[in-house]
Point group: C2
Chain length 498, copies 2
């Protein structure tokens, strides 16, 4: 084993600001120090680094399985959308036109001033880099749908999108981001609403079971609705600073896009009817939620189900001779664990010292670290370190696999329970505006009566910065609006939000 002094020296992640000192800086420090992402030379666009991308790939893989299990297939639609398509759905264009990347030319040329845009190569119609794909997809579905036999269409796309945000933050808000967007077409209104609900449940399940993030579910108010939707359902999570984060949305689009793109089908009675539709998505923003929900002052903390490596093996040795003595033991442990389907990294690099590696994998949130030295092998045991609780314990090799499997499960549960407790402790029901302001100020979800008007919604936002995160699907429970005193049908969730 590494001597105490040695571990201590490297124990503190020096480059990470304390969460309690500056939450926003703490978040950024973790993203950078855990090697997840960084800003690029292109304003607002990030680089997702290999380790960060590996987490995104885990996330994608699990979510994709859930989509496919429920009958969805992936497809791919063009990156560019003709400008005129936007105008076809009036609300839609208002929502996206103000922040989009516009392609106007298709050739550069050499000139005395260096490389310049060739003005002879101007597009007849400008192309918008997709901020979302409803319009190009519904233009395509028009060709796919004639009869009820062609329905439902259950299609998803994993893609990059661009929204020209002015103030960006890694993962949380970037000009380009990665996401999945589902676009489905149905015979009936009921079927489309069922789909909207099904997807919301998938999102909630995924967040809870894989990301270990509890969520509240509900529908958005009109002002927070997706541009072009009849109804937007959402899952909202609570970050450690008490701010809410919208984690996923599922939209019931009614017949808005089928009417805009004139997509009719002949129904079972042989009559022509407009198609019903939904769209839904989650993005690399989920990475932000994952980081902010579980991490601590030592760095990233990852739920085992989404960790690229669930276990890292660090060999402890001095000199090549000693390394050779322990290498085969370490390799066997690696193989044993991999055989059980555990994702393991054996870091046998000689260019870094064990203390450096200890720090590295703590900052990167690897759930379990095994350190193996010569004396451990003599005792046929090893030290096992657990990232969420910082517990260290020696295990006999014969007990190792069983213990690791158990610990991974326990850690997944523990992280969920921890964040769930945090959510409960920071969700408040209030009945008057003073209490409301007080709670909102401290952070968390605040359940309060609202009169249902946009005017009141705006007023509350102006006074407290809080927005209505969602209207829960709960039973009606009449009361009085905390501001206007007018009748309210149910309490709704307020919070300050990302």
């Amino acid at each position: 084993m590494l001597c105490k002094k040695h571990t201590k020296r490297f124990y503190m992640a020096k480059n990470i600001t304390k969460k309690s000192e500056n939450y926003s800086q703490w978040y950024n420090d973790i993203v950078l120090n855990a090697d997840l992402a960084e800003t690029s030379a292109v304003r607002g666009c990030m680089v997702i680094k290999p380790y960060g991308y590996a987490i995104w790939e885990r996330l994608q893989a699990e979510l994709d399985k859930m989509f496919k299990k429920t009958g969805h297939m992936n497809a791919y639609f063009p990156l560019f959308i003709p400008k005129s398509f936007f105008s076809k759905e009036a609300t839609h264009v208002d929502g996206f036109a103000k922040e989009c990347a516009i392609v106007t030319h298709y050739r550069l040329k050499n000139s005395d001033n260096g490389i310049v845009v060739d003005e002879n190569a101007k597009l007849e119609e400008e192309l918008i880099v997709r901020p979302t794909s409803e319009t190009i997809i519904w233009d395509t579905y028009k060709k796919w749908i004639q009869s009820y036999r062609d329905l439902p269409i259950l299609v998803n796309q994993w893609a990059n999108v661009v929204r020209w945000e002015m103030r960006t933050r890694l993962f949380l808000r970037t000009a380009e981001f990665l996401w999945q967007e589902g676009h489905t077409a149905h015979e009936t209104k009921k079927e489309a609403i069922n789909e909207t609900e099904l997807i919301l449940d998938i999102y909630a399940d995924f967040l809870q079971k894989f990301m270990a993030i509890p969520v509240i579910k509900g529908r958005k108010t009109e002002s927070e609705r997706f541009a072009g939707a009849i109804d937007t359902y959402c899952v909202e999570a609570l970050m450690q600073d008490g701010k809410a984060l919208q984690a996923g949305t599922s939209h019931f689009l009614g017949q808005n896009f089928s009417k805009a793109f004139d997509v009719k089908f002949s129904n079972r009675e042989g009559k022509l009817e407009y198609v019903w539709s939904t769209s839904w998505g989650v993005s690399t923003r989920l990475m932000g939620a994952l980081i902010m929900t579980h991490s601590d002052d030592q760095g990233l903390v990852l739920p085992p189900k989404l960790a690229p490596y669930q276990v890292v093996i660090v060999p402890i040795y001095k000199g090549k001779e000693e390394f050779d003595e322990i290498d085969s033991f370490c390799t066997q442990v690696l193989n044993d664990l991999q055989t059980k389907g555990i994702r393991v990294k054996y870091d046998n690099r000689d260019s870094y010292k064990p203390g450096w590696k200890f720090n590295e994998y703590e900052v990167k949130g690897v759930p379990i670290r095994l350190s193996i030295g010569k004396r451990d092998i003599e005792k046929d045991s090893m030290e096992v370190f657990r990232r969420d609780t910082f517990e260290k314990k020696n295990y006999k090799r014969e007990k190792l696999i069983e213990s690791v499997l158990f610990m991974l499960e326990e850690m997944q549960t523990n992280l969920f329970n921890r964040s769930n407790l945090f959510l409960q402790e920071n969700t408040f029901e209030v009945n008057d505006f003073e209490e409301f302001k007080n709670k909102i100020e401290k952070g968390g979800f605040v359940l309060a009566h609202w009169d249902g008007t946009e005017e009141t919604e705006r007023e509350i936002k102006k006074l407290t910065k809080a927005t209505i995160r969602c209207i829960p699907f709960s039973e009606e429970e009449k009361g009085k609006c905390i501001i206007s005193g007018r009748l309210s049908e149910r309490k709704v969730f307020f919070a300050k939000a990302y």
Copy 2:
């Protein structure tokens, strides 16, 4: 079983032009009828339909495994590249500037003429939609690399890219396409060349083992080299019309990009040195190769290893009652096969007749079709149809799994052997220009001596439309150039190409 008359009627894929009549139309017909892709409203951009995309996903999954097994990780870099980055590598900008999509503005606005570009929202520097990512990636690597300890960097990206092609064909040449691009950084020239070779071997292996496509390997001539590379290695395949298709390229970039972006590292002797690099890629063009190599006049033929469904089960029945009788048997067969890891679709839709389904899955190239009716169940057997040979045979249920597994392997081998035989029979060695013209005219690879000059290369292209596909890695074998009569070091592969 379905009566003979019934099967016959649907047997011919009516919408597919015969390959012998019009090869190019045949290809298009297959892409459309097998539901793989279609053109979109955006010039040159295609829509990859769910079934086509499912094949691409299979392809991605297998290739990605091979990359990861050899130590590569995925990452994601910005879609946009600042115009000035292009100018940094002189050859590079020449290669890509003439066909790129240029973003100049970031906002639309309402006007009397409808939605227009907001001239107040002009970018200070234009952004190019990536045609390839060397420049943005090397600008990023500059931050990642200080010491030899940071090397190698073995990174791959799955992404969309845009090259403003004027004449496009589905999968083979489109303005936007999907691909993977590897970008690696190394301490030494030797290591970078090894990487270039390793990747070429991975591409060749993948094409042969998964796509059942034999390839020839070699290096490109200077004129066909990647813009910015020292050396371009490639794998070339031969399509059924005798034209070659470049299936993948692996570039040794030397220090070109590290010099252009000033990326130095301190080496093991503590001296600053420019980093050595490679890049490599395959694209959705592989889909074109897959389609053209194996398909026939009945539609698509897929190697089992890449087929989204390896087996389809079609129930044969009249009326709901009969369906209920056979449904559980079919479901059991489905489960039995799935348990063995076979990808199976059970098409129990009532809205389509069995004959329609037979045709559908033949056109879509599903390797094996099982048809199961009431009488089959009585005999505890079923009809098994094999797509590559059109063989039909009855199998007892107890023999089914074993037979299917065997058949899938045999089919994979058969497809490779078939295309390999075709490659051999259509590769010719010639010693004079008359014979050369004659063979090139008929199609296939032609091995001939070339004097190594660009002038001769151009002359041959002008006279015959043939280009040098690659210079094989074979031993030197001196001879005389078929055109100039000058000294040649070895024979090179010529062909007309896609």
